[in-house]
C-alpha cells in the first residue's frame, strides 16, 4: 500500500518551509531513519528522516520549492511491485488543511474564572480558633514550633525532619532541640550543606510514602533549592494528572534578622505566594505557629512555612489542647476596629499592632487582620473589613514591587471599589538590598511610624 510522505513540521510554530534538497531519488529503497531531504525554515536547516520503509515511488515536490505548507504530500512511498504512476495523489491543499481541523477549540472558550470568582464574596469565617474557656499556657514561638513537630512525629511514623544541624547540633536556632534524643537519627536527619540536593531528596521521599519536614537554616539558602520546590514539588500533582502528590513542609526562618546584611535578609512571602500548587504560611503568634505547623505537616500538598528569627523568642498564649490545629485560609481579626483596616502577616503584625495602639491614642480605631496564610489567602475577611472601615493599609517586610500588599490592593479595588474612601496604601520594606549599617538597616525596614503615617493619610487626619 502506498504511503504519502508529508512535509514535516520541524517545530511547533513552523507553518511552511523550503524543500531545499532531496537526498534520495525516485526508485530508491528507503528504510526507517534514512535521511530523505533537507528542509529549510527561517530558523534552521534540518534533515528529514524516513519513518516508513518502502521504495520512493514518486517525488511530488521538487527540490528548491519554497513555501511548502506543513503536511503537504511531498513524495509517495510504494511497496515492491507497486507502480508509482498508478498512484493518485489527493489535492495537496486538502491534505495540508487537515491539521487545522485537529486544532483545539478557540481560546475564547477558556473560562474567565478569576473574574467570575471575584464578583461573589463569601462570608468571612470569624469563628474563634479555640473554644472559649480553654486553658492557656505561655510559650515562645520556638517552643510552639518544636511542640508541633514533636506531636506530629509521635502521631505519624512517616513524618521525619531533615536539614542542616537539626540533630546533633540541636538546631541552628534550637527549633529542633531534643528531637534527636526523642526520635533518633532515622527520623531526625542531619544533612550536609547541600540545599538543592536535600530539597530534591525530600520531594522524592514525599512521593515514596513519607511526610518530610525539610528545614532550611534560613530561607535565603532555599534559593539554591527553588527549582526542586517549584518545578518538582509544586507542579507534579498537576503534571501527573492528579496521580502524584507531594506532602512536604519546607520551613525555616525568613526575612530580616538583625545586622546580617543583604544575602541573609529577605522576605520571600510574595515569591512563593505566586506559585499555584504551593501553600504558603507565615505565622505571627506562637499559637498560630503551632496550630498552622501541625496543619502543614498533615496537609497533602507542599507547604512553605515562613518563620522569623526575631519572633522565635517571643512569648504568646497558646491553648493547652491535645490536638490543636489552625486551618489554612482563615485570617484572624487580631484587633477589632471601625476606622481603618490594617492587613498584615508574620512579623509585620508586630508593627501593625503597635501602630494600632498608637492610633487608638489619637482616636483612630484600627481593625488589624492577620492573614496567617498567603496561599490560600482569606480575601473574604479582608473585604468584609474594608467594606466596614472603607480604608485599608497593608503592612509587610518584603520588597515593594509585586508585593502581597499590591495584590490585595488590586483585589480590594476589584471587589470593594465603591466602599473605598481613600486609596489603599502598601507599607513595605524599601526597594533596596538590605544594608549592614545599623542606621541604614533601620530605615530599610518597615517601621511603626510609617504605618501610623499611612493610616493618617487614608483617614485624612
Amino acid at each position: 500500500m502506498a504511503t504519502e510522505i508529508l512535509m514535516p513540521a520541524l517545530s511547533p510554530t513552523m507553518e511552511e518551509g523550503t524543500l531545499a534538497k532531496w537526498l534520495v531519488k525516485q526508485g530508491d529503497t528507503v528504510k526507517s531513519g534514512d535521511i530523505l531531504a533537507e528542509i529549510e525554515t527561517d530558523k534552521a536547516t534540518m534533515e528529514f528522516e524516513a519513518v516508513d520503509e518502502g521504495i520512493l515511488g514518486k517525488i511530488l515536490i521538487e527540490e528548491g520549492t519554497q513555501g511548502v505548507k506543513v503536511n503537504t504530500p511531498i513524495a509517495v512511498l510504494v511497496e515492491e511491485g507497486e507502480n508509482a504512476d498508478d498512484i493518485s495523489v489527493p489535492a495537496s491543499a486538502k491534505s495540508a488543511s487537515e491539521p487545522e481541523s485537529e486544532k483545539p477549540a478557540e481560546q475564547s472558550e477558556a473560562p474567565a474564572a478569576s473574574a467570575v470568582e471575584a464578583v461573589s464574596t463569601p462570608e468571612p469565617d470569624l469563628s474563634p480558633d479555640w473554644p472559649e474557656g480553654t486553658a492557656m499556657k505561655t510559650m515562645t514561638v520556638r517552643e510552639a514550633l518544636r511542640e508541633a513537630m514533636s506531636e506530629e512525629m509521635e502521631r505519624d511514623e512517616t513524618v521525619f525532619l531533615m536539614g542542616e544541624e537539626v540533630g546533633e547540633y540541636q538546631g541552628a536556632y534550637k527549633i529542633s532541640q531534643g528531637l534527636l534524643d526523642k526520635f533518633g537519627p532515622r527520623r531526625v536527619v542531619d544533612t550536609p550543606i547541600t540545599e538543592h540536593g536535600f530539597a530534591g531528596i525530600g520531594v522524592g521521599a514525599s512521593w515514596g510514602g513519607l511526610r518530610p519536614i525539610v528545614e532550611f537554616m534560613t530561607f535565603n539558602f532555599a534559593m539554591q533549592a527553588v527549582d526542586q520546590i517549584i518545578n518538582s514539588a509544586a507542579k507534579t500533582l498537576y503534571m501527573s494528572g492528579g496521580q502524584m502528590g507531594s506532602p512536604i513542609v519546607f520551613r525555616g526562618p525568613n526575612g530580616a534578622a538583625a545586622r546580617v546584611a543583604a544575602q541573609h535578609s529577605q522576605d520571600y512571602a510574595a515569591w512563593y505566594a505566586q506559585i499555584p500548587g504551593l501553600k504558603v504560611v507565615m505565622p505571627y503568634t506562637a499559637a498560630d505557629a503551632k496550630g498552622l505547623l501541625k496543619t502543614a505537616i498533615r496537609d497533602n500538598n507542599p507547604v512553605i512555612f515562613l518563620e522569623n528569627e526575631i519572633l522565635y523568642g517571643r512569648s504568646f498564649e497558646v491553648p493547652d489542647l491535645p490536638d490543636f490545629t489552625i486551618p489554612f485560609g482563615k485570617a484572624k481579626v487580631a484587633r477589632a476596629g471601625k476606622d481603618v483596616t490594617i492587613v498584615s502577616f508574620g512579623i509585620g503584625m508586630a508593627h501593625a499592632l503597635e501602630a494600632a495602639d498608637k492610633l487608638a491614642g489619637d482616636g483612630i480605631e484600627a481593625e488589624v487582620i492577620d492573614l496567617r496564610t498567603l496561599r490560600p489567602i482569606d480575601y473574604a475577611t479582608v473585604i468584609a473589613s474594608v467594606r466596614k472601615t472603607n480604608r485599608c493599609v497593608t503592612v509587610e517586610e518584603g520588597f515593594p514591587v509585586a508585593s502581597i500588599g499590591n495584590h490585595l490592593s488590586a483585589h480590594i479595588m476589584e471587589n470593594a471599589f465603591d466602599y473605598l474612601d481613600a486609596p489603599v496604601i502598601n507599607c513595605t520594606g524599601k526597594d533596596v538590598p538590605m544594608p549592614y549599617a545599623a542606621n541604614l538597616e533601620k530605615h530599610a525596614l518597615i517601621t511603626v511610624s510609617e504605618v501610623v503615617e499611612a493610616v493618617k493619610k487614608v483617614t485624612y487626619r
Partner: protein, 355 residues
C-alpha cells in the same frame, strides 16, 4: 550541506571501543523466551517512537518531543533486572522507560497528543507522565532534577524498611549538574538503595562529551564519594541486564548506591527540532549498521535457531498493531475538558496512598 572537517573526524568512541571487554564478558544465560521478550520490548519502543515522530510531523504532537530510538537496550536490559516494587525515574526522554516498565502504549501516545486518555489527562505531555501502578515517577524536564528525586524515593524505601531499589536515569549532559554530586554524596553517606543509570548517548543536546568535560568516564566520578560503578555496553541488552543484576544485588544487600554508565547512542536528534550539524551522518549510520541493539538480538535469535524469520515477522506485525492502535487511540481521544484546567492543583487526599 558542507560540514566542518573537524566535526567529520570527531571520532565518537563507539561503545565497542570504550567498553570492549563487557560485550563478551557479560553474557548471562538467557532463555529463548526472555530473548524474545527483549526483542519485542525493544521493538515496541522503536516503532512507538517512529510513530511519535510521524505524529509530530503531522502537527498532532506539540512542543518538545525527545525520541529514544537507539537507546532501547538500556531500559529493556535494566527492567529485566528489576522486581515488582522497584521504582524508576528519568528525564524528559522518557517514552522508552514507560513502555519498558509496562505502561500502556495508548496512554503514553495519548499524552503526547495532549488528550484526555493520556496518562496525565493531557496536562503533562511528552515530558511529564507518572504511573503509581508501575512505580514510574516521571518524566522530568529540568536536566538533573530527577537525580535527587530518585535518591529521595530510595530514601523512603530504606526508611520504610523494604528491599526495593530505585533506578534513577539521567544522561551524560545531566552529569555535569551540581545536584548530581550533592546526591551522590548523600546517597553514599546514607547508603540509599539507588542505582544511578547514566545513559551516555555521547551528546548533551549538541555538545559531545569531549567538548564538555576532561573526565574520561562518568561512572568514575562516583569514586570521589565512594560509590562503585562500571561502564556497560548499552547496545547489548544482555550486557545491560547482567550489569543491572550486579547493581541491584549491591543495592538490595544494603551496600548503598551503584553507578552504571551505559554507553549508548541516540539515532535521532536531541528533540524534533535538531539540525543535526554536530555529528556526521556517517557516524549515525555506522552505529545503526554495526551496533543496533535490536538487530543484535534478532541475530542471536536467528543464529541460535530460537526463532524463525516468520516468528519474528509475526512479532513485528504484533508490535505494529499495538503502535497503530495507540496512534489511533491518541487521535480519537478527546482533548481534556476545559474544567480540567482547574483540577489537580491541590490534593485533598493523597493520591499515591490509594495506589
Amino acid at each position: 550541506m558542507a560540514r566542518k572537517p573537524a566535526e567529520a573526524k570527531t571520532p565518537q568512541a563507539t561503545p565497542a571501543k570504550t567498553a570492549p571487554a563487557r560485550r563478551t564478558a557479560a553474557r548471562p544465560n538467557v532463555s529463548r523466551d526472555e530473548l524474545l521478550q527483549y526483542y519485542r520490548d525493544m521493538l515496541l519502543i522503536r516503532r512507538f517512537e517512529e510513530k511519535a515522530g510521524q505524529l509530530y510531523g503531522m502537527g498532532l504532537i506539540g512542543g518538545f518531543c525527545h525520541l529514544y530510538i537507539g537507546q532501547e537496550a538500556v531500559v529493556v536490559g535494566l527492567e529485566a533486572a528489576s522486581k515488582e516494587g522497584d521504582k524508576r525515574v528519568t528525564s524528559y526522554r522518557d517514552h522508552g522507560h514507560m513502555l519498558a516498565c509496562g505502561m500502556d502504549a495508548r496512554g503514553v501516545m495519548a499524552e503526547l497528543t495532549g488528550r484526555e486518555g493520556g496518562y496525565s489527562k493531557g496536562k503533562g505531555g511528552s515530558m511529564h507522565m507518572f504511573s503509581r501502578e508501575k512505580h514510574f515517577y516521571g518524566g522530568h524536564g529540568i536536566v538533573g532534577a530527577q537525580v535527587p528525586l530518585g535518591a529521595g524515593l530510595a530514601f523512603a524505601d530504606k526508611y520504610l524498611g523494604n528491599d526495593n531499589v530505585t533506578f534513577t536515569y539521567f544522561g551524560d549532559g545531566a552529569s555535569n549538574q551540581g545536584q548530581v554530586y550533592e546526591t551522590y554524596n548523600m546517597a553514599e553517606l546514607w547508603e540509599l538503595p539507588v542505582i544511578f543509570v547514566i545513559e551516555n548517548n555521547q551528546y548533551a543536546m549538541g555538545t559531545s562529551m569531549k567538548r564538555s568535560t576532561r573526565s574520561t568516564t562518568l561512572y568514575g566520578r562516583g569514586e570521589a564519594f565512594g560509590i562503585p560503578g562500571e561502564q556497560v555496553d548499552g547496545m547489548d541488552v544482555l550486557a545491560v541486564k547482567a550489569a543491572g543484576e550486579k547493581a541491584v544485588a549491591h543495592c538490595r544487600a544494603g551496600k548503598g548506591p551503584y553507578i552504571l554508565e551505559v554507553m549508548t547512542y541516540r539515532y535521532r536528534g536531541h528533540s524534533m527540532s535538531d539540525p543535526a550539524k554536530y555529528r556526521t551522518r556517517e557516524e549515525v549510520q555506522k552505529m545503526r549498521d554495526e551496533r543496533d541493539p535490536i538487530e543484535h538480538v534478532r541475530e542471536l535469535l536467528l543464529q541460535g535457531k530460537h526463532a524463525s524469520e516468520d516468528d519474528l515477522k509475526a512479532i513485528d506485525k504484533e508490535i505494529k498493531d499495538i503502535v497503530n492502535d495507540s496512534a489511533e487511540f491518541a487521535k480519537e481521544s478527546p482533548e481534556p475538558a476545559l474544567d480540567e484546567l482547574w483540577t489537580d492543583i491541590y490534593a485533598d487526599e493523597l493520591p499515591q496512598e490509594n495506589a
